[in-house]
């Protein structure tokens, strides 16, 4: 396996529940943690990908600082475990997991991430944007403001702006509707639930 999974949540029930589902669906033993304290000790630098399922009540700033210090070869994806689904997050949302999600929704969310992790490094470099930048492009395409994006991804507005600047530099696309077209062409938006033309 190229990926490993960390679940961080104060509730034992949530931890064990996710452990049970992940183990039975993907045959991966996730590491279970109640706080961020010992997170770094559980990171396996030999793997190519780390998936962190983290409770939304955790200090998100600290979490992103910790993950930023991970080795560059380890691709880290964070999914927030939320009490309730945000009204704006539909089934295509790839960055949060509501507690009432069904077993199949959980596996649908995790499967593509693990699949991505097993692809060789070389190939992944072709996709120009980082995972986080991809999240930002997707939300920009859905018409979210910088403020809304910051809230949804638990990052500061300043960070959103800096992501957007990098995105524009990498893609050579400046306008919002241009970024929306990019997101649609690259399948970042679920075009079955949203009419893509209505976004442009």
């Amino acid at each position: 396996m190229h990926s490993h999974i960390l679940v961080i949540h104060p509730s034992e029930i949530v931890l064990q529940g996710l452990h049970c589902i992940i183990k039975s669906v993907f045959d991966i033993e996730p590491v279970l943690l109640k706080t961020l304290d010992s997170l770094t000790n559980h990171v396996d630098a030999n793997k190519s990908q780390l998936l962190v399922l983290a409770d939304e009540s955790l200090d998100q700033k600290e979490l992103s600082n910790i993950t930023l210090a991970f080795p560059k070869t380890l691709r880290t994806k964070i999914i927030h475990i939320r009490q309730l689904a945000e009204p704006s997050c539909d089934k295509s949302c790839k960055c949060c997991l509501p507690l009432n999600a069904s077993r199949s929704r959980i596996s649908e969310l995790i499967r593509p991430i693990l699949a991505e992790g097993s692809r060789p490094m070389e190939k992944r470099r072709l996709s120009e944007l980082t995972e986080r930048e991809t999240d930002v492009v997707r939300l920009v395409a859905l018409g979210k403001t910088n403020k809304e994006i910051a809230k949804e991804l638990y990052i500061s507005i300043h960070t959103v702006i800096s992501h957007r600047k990098n995105i524009t530099e990498k893609l050579g696309i400046k306008s919002i509707s241009g970024l929306t077209v990019y997101a649609i062409l690259n399948n970042l938006i679920d075009t079955n639930s949203i009419d893509p033309e209505s976004l442009i």
């Binding site: 893609l171 050579g172 696309i173 400046k174 306008s175 509707s177 241009g178 077209v181 990019y182 649609i184 062409l185 690259n186 893509p196 033309e197 442009i200």
Partner: protein, 238 residues
């Protein structure tokens, strides 16, 4: 930088930059120049020589700004030219782009280009709106201002005194950005199930159009607006 001057042969001018052909059309010039110089043809066709040279040089040399040459040119002449370019964009360039895009969409299996087409149509809407805004507000304001200046109208009518060209002339930035994005979306992110010929044709039209629009914006922003700001200053100090 070797500028065209009054002794340049009109034929040589076309040879050095064929993209100037539509510019010549805007001055009402037709081919068959024989050995005539720019000056001879301008005299025959009653075209202001300095204005003609300023426009073709500005188009051909990106670094050339003919502000000084255009000080003596009336705003009316500049606006006549800008209006003709607007008409060219709407009646010639854009239909050509659309025809090329339609052809590309028709000969392709995937749906990608439908999205590009939609993007183009929102771009076009904004562009047309920008043009209409200039035709209906900015240009009439400039013409009225020039008239007041020439006739030394004092005091200025309220409709002129309260405004400035900077209220009318909106930034060209956003419109330009979309055109650039459109090119990049095609060049960088198109899936390769298109016909080469169709796509090249579309891109040629886009590049040419972009060049034309940038030149046009330069004449508006650097020449017309600069000129009008000076007239405003003069009138308001009078």
């Amino acid at each position: 930088m070797e500028l065209f001057d009054k002794n340049t042969k009109m034929t040589a001018l076309v040879h050095s930059n064929h993209l100037l052909l539509p510019v010549l059309n805007r001055f009402g010039l037709r081919l068959g120049f024989q050995e005539k110089t720019v000056e001879e043809i301008c005299t025959e066709e009653q075209i202001d020589l300095n204005f003609f040279l300023a426009i073709v040089n500005a188009y051909h040399h990106h670094d050339y700004s003919p502000e000084n040459e255009l000080k003596s040119i009336s705003a009316k002449l500049i606006i006549d030219y800008l209006r003709k370019s607007h008409l060219d964009f709407l009646k010639v360039s854009m239909p050509k782009i659309e025809a090329a895009l339609d052809k590309m969409v028709k000969n392709r299996k995937s749906n990608d280009l439908k999205i590009i087409q939609k993007f183009y149509s929102t771009y076009k809407e904004e562009f047309v709106e920008h043009i209409q805004d200039e035709e209906e507000h900015a240009f009439p304001y400039v013409l009225a201002l020039q008239k007041a200046h020439d006739q030394k109208t004092n005091p200025l009518p309220k409709s002129l005194a309260e405004y400035s060209i900077s209220d009318y002339e909106k930034d060209h930035g956003d419109v330009d950005v979309k055109l650039f994005d459109l090119k990049n979306l095609i060049i960088k992110y198109l899936k390769p199930d298109y016909r080469d010929q169709d796509c090249n044709e579309f891109l040629y039209e886009l590049f040419h159009f972009e060049r034309d629009v940038q030149d046009h914006a330069r004449i508006e922003d650097q020449i017309l607006v600069t000129k009008v700001l000076e007239i405003e200053k003069e009138l308001k100090n009078a």
